[in-house]
């Protein structure tokens, strides 16, 4: 009995609930470059560019928190954030600082953020990690209702999470693949691999996965940038599209090559290969 509670004009107003929006009706965008920041005991400073390529001002905050790539029990990758990392974690979050930590970005502008490291004097050789989190909060955008009155403001929060790596002394890495498995279900190929990191530094490389038919021809090929910081059982999933039914082999290769990173920052490691049979259809 809605009508019993309103006079006619109010009834009309109540019937016209104007829903605004969840996202501003203008383009909002922030960016960070590079997405992988490297520092070492020779150059204890780095620069990161944070920018606003949108049409409205952005208020951005920059913070550092300890975290690293991992995989959950289903093999889904995520960045594991640890608020108070104990001594068992190689955290650099406590001794790398970002300046400034808050910036206002006008449309089409950028700001250089400096990272400065102040590692402990007795820091052992090795690699230390943290994550750079850039959070953009668009300025409040007035939402205009049908009668043109300004009624409310809405915000979208965008976070970009990049890696920060600090290396001291001799660092090495590598990866071992175990228990490779594959399954073709419907139109998807799923590959599982247990990945064990070697050495004292994170493994940065590329995973190449090929689907090879009985004649030895590669019918599909996928490549994914990969980071292995801790042992994990990782799942990879790809569309099979119109791959004909039949018996195939999945070739799995990890190579320490990354076209998106400076070559001198990608630690050398042997290429690792493995393969497993899979039936499609």
């Amino acid at each position: 009995m809605v009508g019993a509670r309103f006079t006619p004009p109010l009834r009309i107003a109540a019937a016209t609930v104007l829903l605004a929006v969840l996202v501003p009706a203008v383009i909002e965008a922030i960016y960070v470059a590079p997405t992988a920041i490297f520092m070492d005991d020779r150059s204890q400073a780095a620069e990161v560019t944070v920018g606003n390529s949108g049409d409205t001002p952005e208020e951005a905050t920059i913070e550092l928190r300890f975290g690293f790539p991992d995989a959950d029990s289903a093999g889904t990758p995520y960045v594991r954030m640890v608020d108070d990392p104990g001594p068992e974690f190689p955290s650099a979050a406590d001794w790398i600082r970002a300046y400034p930590q808050r910036v206002r970005l006008d449309p089409k502008t950028q700001q250089v953020v400096r990272l400065l490291a102040r590692p402990p004097a007795n820091l052992p050789d090795g690699e230390y990690w943290t994550r750079l989190i850039v959070t953009g909060r668009g300025a409040s955008i007035p939402v205009v209702s049908a009668d043109t009155a300004v009624r409310a403001g809405v915000n979208l929060v965008i976070r970009l999470v990049a890696s920060v790596t600090y290396r001291k002394g001799k660092v090495t890495t590598g990866v071992v693949v175990k228990d490779l498995a594959a399954d073709a279900d419907g139109d998807s190929l799923t590959v599982w691999a247990h990945l064990d990191r070697q050495g004292n530094a994170g493994y940065l490389g590329t995973a190449d996965i090929e689907l090879v038919n009985a004649a030895g021809e590669t019918v599909r090929r996928w490549s994914t940038a990969l980071a292995v910081y801790v042992p994990m059982r990782r799942r990879f999933a790809y569309p099979l599209d119109s791959v004909p039914p039949g018996d195939y082999r999945v070739r799995f290769r990890l190579r320490a090559e990354r076209p998106d990173l400076p070559a001198d920052r990608v630690l050398p490691a042997p290429t690792v290969t493995d393969s497993v049979a899979v039936r499609v259809g």
Partner: protein
């Protein structure tokens, strides 16, 4: 034009000191130009005018009302995108209107491939050879029978993790 501008900005930020023309004459070395990691909100998720007591659904395939985001970065970059979705929208006066997102209210598009997903779950994707990932978002607004008139809004958080380093 916007992407070109970003690429130029990124190049200026990433080019090392020896990439200056003077140095380059003596020591020609390749300059790695890597696209930045960028998140765009291209269009809004808009329900327009709704009636009290009548749920209004915006399909993820609705080109005019579905929310659309674009993630760009290096080719084949591995990213995870998390959406933190609200349970309700709020009017200026504090009135609430429930909003829900179903298991097929998300759509991820990389190149020629698309995948519907539950927007409560993360999107794990390689950005593909062109370094782009598009995400579309639908949802359902559920105004009550006595819903107060006015504008309702909410905030969503979109987080993009670089999984490749």
């Amino acid at each position: 034009m916007r992407r070109f501008a970003i690429a130029v900005l990124a190049a200026s930020a990433l080019a090392p000191a020896w990439a200056s023309p003077l140095q380059a004459q003596r020591r020609p070395m390749p300059v790695i130009v890597v696209p930045p990691l960028t998140a765009f909100a291209i269009s809004d998720l808009s329900f327009g005018t709704v009636l009290p007591g009548v749920p209004t659904t915006v399909s993820v395939n609705d080109p005019h009302h579905a929310g659309q985001f674009e993630i760009t970065g290096p080719a084949n970059a591995s990213v995870r995108v998390d959406l933190v979705l609200p349970a309700a929208m709020v009017s200026e006066g504090g009135a609430l209107m429930p909003i829900s997102f179903g298991h097929a209210d998300g759509l991820a598009v990389v190149g020629s491939h698309s995948l519907q997903f539950d927007p409560h779950a993360p999107v794990i994707a390689s950005l593909g050879s062109d370094g782009h990932l598009f995400i579309r978002l639908g949802g359902t607004a559920q105004p009550g029978l006595t819903q107060t008139g006015g504008c309702y809004s909410a905030t969503i958080a979109l987080t993009v993790y670089n999984l490749g380093s």
